[in-house]
């Protein structure tokens, strides 16, 4: 499988990365080189093989459904570029 210019732009939009017109060809080449490399997986028969979900045999632990942390909104927002009253500020999304 290989990607065309339109696909590169679509992936950029899905990934929320602006791809300028003059960058499309470069990305297209690089992505196709990588996709070409991974193509060799087509040689392997994986019928009946289970997809790995956990590299060490373990079941995820559970804990009681109680609040165990928190209560410091000011710390959560302390690194944000723009905040007000412990809220993250973003451009208006709802008219």
């Amino acid at each position: 499988m290989s990607v065309d210019a339109a696909t590169v732009k679509r992936i950029g939009r899905l990934a929320r990365i602006r791809i300028e017109e003059d960058e499309v060809a470069g990305y297209q080449n690089e992505l196709n080189a990588i996709l070409g490399f991974v193509e060799q997986l087509a040689e392997i028969n994986v019928d009946g093989v289970e997809a790995m979900t956990s590299v060490t045999p373990m079941t995820l632990r559970r804990r009681d459904d109680v609040v165990s942390d928190g209560g410091y909104a000011e710390k959560i927002v302390s690194n944000a570029p723009l905040t007000e009253d412990n809220f993250f500020m973003v451009p208006k999304v709802v008219e």
Binding site: R16, A33, L35, S54, Y72
Partner: protein, 494 residues
């Protein structure tokens, strides 16, 4: 007084305990060495001398009373991937500009609990994506090693290039590092240092900037096998805050170092004998096997048939997980923000400006292989291949193999700005060909210096172990270290 920075971690610990010098003197020696070397090597992206001196003074108070932890007063460098409270933590990326976490990663907390001193944050490939430390927003790290008769700058490897260079160039007693596909072992091999990626789940990932969560593991880089074992014992341990952290007791790894290899069976996988492998790598590998045999190990040929598929499967799994993990960098919660006409515009502009080319390329691949219509063909297939890779190792261990010996890298260090590597992304990825299988199978792997190439550059061997049997790796690596008996220190030019 002797140069304190040249002491091994174990010897520095002895000197502190015997009061031959103080933690403050040791720390000041490192701070001085960093100030002198960093303009040339670029190993540190941030230094914390005041904090280091405060920590050293508090260690001295404890040491004076005959108290203190296993790393009391030992100055360490910390890879920029580890969250350190109130201190520069940017994964060497522009997109995390100014980020200073309100928390401390579990691994670094463990080190401070045991008395270690923080010298600063170490350079790395951006978000740990790279094998040469050239993708860092802060510029490449320069290896302390140069080829004989040459002044050309070489890479220290990556992604933990700052960690490897700093340890090798005596800019810290040891360093933390992380390994997703070879990022501890490859730079260790390039710089004549010892690096171990422990079994997945051995070290907590909590507070470490995530790259590919099912592959990422923290581990140390140190100047000797014993030093690496001391570091590992402190870094490891169960952490309820990481759901994949394993609740197993942590052995005293240093106690296993001199255990020897008598009676062990060492596997030699034929699939690692790649076409076009340089003769000096072949020779190094055979030499390593001879050393282990001479100390009483048995060598056994084995087959790991899916080896060649590990790297292509990795380049589906790792970017897929990265594209998801790195979705959080959006200019809202932390770091860089580039304003746009609406929020989508802001996301796109921020991420375009904040991520470097290699990171963007990997996010794009990851986004593509996870997108509707391609998920089964790529991601699910790769995870099935991963099951097969892991089974290869399980079969070998089941047949009586205790550890596996392979080369660590396909070559010695290469030059900064190598054009052949820059023009072909896949060529750079091939650096991880011997190490990436270990991450795919969640196993422990150690790189230990074993020889030098024709230009006097260090070459490493890798030992791969059974899950949670790092002790055997330390023991076997020590045999190689002792047998090689060579000095893997760089000749100081900086």
């Amino acid at each position: 007084m002797t140069d304190l920075t040249k002491l091994s971690l174990a010897d520095a610990r002895k000197g502190l305990k015997d009061k031959s010098f103080t933690a403050l003197e040791l720390t000041d020696a490192y701070i001085g060495a960093i100030e002198k070397a960093n303009p040339s090597l670029n190993a540190y992206v941030a230094t914390t001398p005041e904090q280091a001196r405060d920590m050293a003074k508090s260690s001295d108070a404890k040491l004076a009373q005959g108290q203190g932890g296993t790393l009391e007063g030992i100055p360490l460098g910390i890879k920029d991937l580890f969250g350190t409270k109130g201190v520069h933590t940017q994964a060497a990326s522009h997109i995390l500009d100014g980020f200073k976490p309100e928390y401390e990663s579990t691994v670094t907390s463990n080190l401070w609990r045991d008395g270690a001193v923080m010298l600063g944050k170490l350079n790395m490939d951006e978000f740990a994506m790279g094998s040469s430390n050239e993708t860092s927003y802060y510029g490449p790290v320069v290896s302390p090693f140069r080829a004989e008769g040459s002044n050309a700058n070489l890479v220290p490897g990556g992604s933990s290039g700052g960690s490897a260079a700093a340890v090798s160039a005596w800019l810290c007693a040891a360093a933390t590092a992380t390994d997703t596909g070879g990022s501890i072992r490859q730079p260790a091999a390039f710089t004549g240092t010892v690096g171990i990626k422990p079994t997945y789940g051995r070290c907590s990932r909590w507070g470490v900037v995530a790259f590919a969560s099912s592959l990422d593991q923290a581990g140390p880089i140190a100047r000797t096998v014993e030093d690496a074992a001391i570091m590992m014992t402190s870094m490891a341990g169960f952490d309820p805050k990481d759901s994949t952290s394993v609740d197993l007791p942590v052995p005293d790894f240093a106690a296993a170092v001199e255990r020897g290899v008598k009676g062990l069976t060492i596997g030699v996988p034929k699939e690692y004998r790649m076409d076009g492998m340089p003769a000096e790598i072949e020779k190094l590998w055979s030499q390593g096997l001879e050393w282990l045999k001479a100390e009483g190990a048995t060598v056994k040929d084995i087959s790991l048939p899916h080896t060649k598929y590990a790297l292509p499967a990795y380049y589906i799994v790792a970017p897929a997980e990265a594209s998801s993990n790195l979705a959080r960098y959006d200019g809202v919660k932390y770091g860089l923000r580039i304003s746009g006409k609406d929020i989508t515009d802001q996301y796109e502009l921020t991420r375009a400006a904040g991520f470097g080319r290699e990171v963007k390329r990997r996010i794009m691949i990851g986004t593509y292989v996870l997108s509707a219509g391609y998920f089964d063909a790529y991601y699910v297939k790769a995870q099935k291949v991963r099951t097969l890779i892991k089974k290869d190792f399980e079969d070998a261990f089941h047949a009586g193999v205790d550890a596996i010996l392979t080369p660590a890298t396909p070559s010695a260090a290469f030059g900064i700005g190598d054009e052949a590597l820059a023009s072909d992304p896949v060529a750079m990825y091939l650096n991880d060909i011997f190490t990436v299988t270990v991450n795919m199978a969640g196993l422990p792997g150690i790189a230990v210096p074993a020889g030098k190439d024709g230009n006097g550059l260090p070459l490493g061997l890798q030992l791969i172990g059974k899950p949670f049997d790092e002790e055997t790796l330390f023991a076997a690596a020590r045999v190689i270290e002792k047998s090689a008996g060579e000095d893997f220190a760089p000749r100081q030019w900086w």
